[in-house]
Subunit: 352 residues, 2 copies
């Protein structure tokens, strides 16, 4: 009794052929604008197809063609504006090239990531764009083995030997750190998450270099404020601000008074602003704050947050372009690794 919900089944090529009095093959050629059909019959066939509401069966089509015109995107979660922008841009590009996007979310969990990869593989995708969660690359080897083109974004897995596109985290942190240093900061704290991601490691390193280049000491105990990793994944971004608030409040209450904060996520700045406000520490007069990400609300903070404009559209654009090149076989060989340098958006929080 499990009656299928679709009333009558979709008309097939055969059905159409019977109605028009021709062969399925001819119908196929007519509808796909391939030669071998007279103009009049072609028109007739198209009209009839329209009338019957014929839609070619993708399953059959992709079985023959070996392609589904679909690319997969694996990211941790699209509530994160970074990733939602990324996915949007990929979708836009893909659509342009006649591809659709299959969305797989890993929720920052290694297990879910494995599952997502697994499902991606059995989905018969033409290609895959992914922002990996884990540092270990073993989860991705099945993708490599399957021969499905893979392009990584945001987080690198060098040993995998695949193309990689990302914002330049090193250049980014130097830009933000240099910006506050250039404006007279002498005692800068980097407020960032304590997670084993290459992106975060890059930021810490770049931060350190930037300080040292300005002849300032770098001591992890004084110059780093680390947000403990979340115990479990939480969808809402605002918890990041909460965590940052707690860490900042704790730091300030221990009597520490840096003259600038550089953060790894605009949401951290949100929490930091509150901690500072509560203690009557004025921005930018007493302390400068430099964000990361240029999230939509930063321009409306008080004072407006100076931050880093991440070129996520650009990253997504290039990654998708590269992936499509791979799919269409027009990609040159060799592994491409591109890091796109972000831009500063200087606003009130660093302008004395």
């Amino acid at each position: 009794m499990v009656e299928t919900s679709r009333g009558r089944r979709q008309p097939t090529l055969q059905d159409l052929a019977k109605v028009v009095g021709l062969t399925a093959n001819t119908i196929s050629r007519a509808l796909n604008d391939r030669p071998g059909v007279s103009a009049t019959t072609r028109a007739l066939i198209k009209a009839e197809a329209e009338r019957l509401g014929y839609v070619p069966n993708v399953h059959a089509r992709s079985l023959v063609l070996g392609s589904r015109k679909t690319i997969g995107v694996i990211v941790s979660n699209i509530s994160n504006p970074f990733f939602s922008d990324l996915v949007s841009e990929v979708e836009l590009q893909a659509q342009h090239a006649g591809y659709t996007v299959l969305l797989l979310l890993s929720y920052e969990s290694a297990e879910r990531e494995r599952d997502a990869i697994d499902r991606a593989l059995r989905c018969g995708l033409d290609g895959l764009i992914a922002a990996p969660v884990q540092e270990r690359s073993t989860a991705w080897t099945p993708v490599i083995k399957s021969g499905i083109p893979l392009v990584l974004v945001s987080r690198e897995l060098p040993e995998l030997g695949v193309d990689f596109y990302s914002t330049d985290n090193d250049a980014g942190i130097r830009l933000t750190t240099d910006a506050v240093l250039a404006r007279g900061a002498k005692d800068v704290v980097l407020l960032d998450e304590d997670m084993p991601f290459s992106t975060i490691r890059l930021r810490t390193e770049g931060f350190r270099h930037s300080l040292e280049q300005h002849g300032l000491p770098f001591d992890p105990r004084y110059n780093l404020a680390l947000i403990p990793p979340a115990r479990s994944f939480r969808v809402s971004q605002s918890w990041h601000a909460d965590d940052a608030y707690r860490v900042a409040a704790d730091l300030l209450d221990r009597g520490r008074r840096p003259d600038a904060f550089v953060v790894g996520d605009d949401y951290y700045a949100l929490g930091l602003y509150r901690a500072l406000r509560e203690r009557n520490i004025r921005i930018p007069d007493d302390v400068m704050v430099m964000g990361w990400g240029n999230l939509p609300f930063t321009r409306f903070m008080e004072p407006p947050l100076s931050t880093l404009l991440l070129p996520f559209e650009e990253v997504a654009h290039r990654a998708t372009r590269r992936l499509l090149d791979h799919i269409q076989g027009t990609a040159d060989h060799g592994i491409v690794t591109e890091r796109i340098v972000p831009e500063l958006a200087i606003r009130g929080s660093t302008t004395r």
Copy 2:
């Protein structure tokens, strides 16, 4: 010379059969845990499949089974937190039920929506969840005709006669309006977008009713501040705040001084805050502000924004459940229309 990028082609059932010395049929039965295979050969086959890295070809499989285990989601854009939450939740649910999600973005454009629908149809989806852009439902009739189960969210198209899940906009606007009225507001302005969406119409109507029930007059010229529709779609949400800022600033500069604002989007509150701040109008002492959506940054505004907690996860959850019921043929007949009542989050912006 368009050489396929995958080196050697994936092993098929036939290949496996040849290696093991059995028939493709038997292999299929063994791998899918169907009866008719001895335990020993089953184990042997599975081991061999593992060794060769065999992955069943979905194209072939779904051609036979008539299903691809995929549901489509059409929303305008996932940069909007409402929609990204929605899509996330759908993905979570779908994944749970063994389905993957195809993402199609309409970018608030009727033309792109038509295109998305078109692509959805030729993708052989098992079902479709959509937040329609247009008021006219003609674009969706091909979906109905195709027999693919369709569930609408957020924006209703009654004449289409399909299931509909949404947050209760009417109840929502009454909650927010009543909240400021209960706190002593006598002159409330609704700041909302001037777009022909059913959601917005519902909000205006509910707002009006709420005022009238409290014995207050409603005059569109005084109680409505409408944000002109954007000329073109813009991905970044922050423009909404800009637009709201302009409209609010204009209103205030004309000398209008309401004692409360109720807005249709938290981003509007962001712009409104700035307009008020610039004119030294204090929140909540001079004017209360009530938001809509409980976006992550609202708790960190100064003062924290009272707002409306939209049950988007719940909406997505129920809509997906219903869609899966349709797909699996376990859905009862009749059209379901559910509007889930949101909850208030009262914070500093309305607490005198």
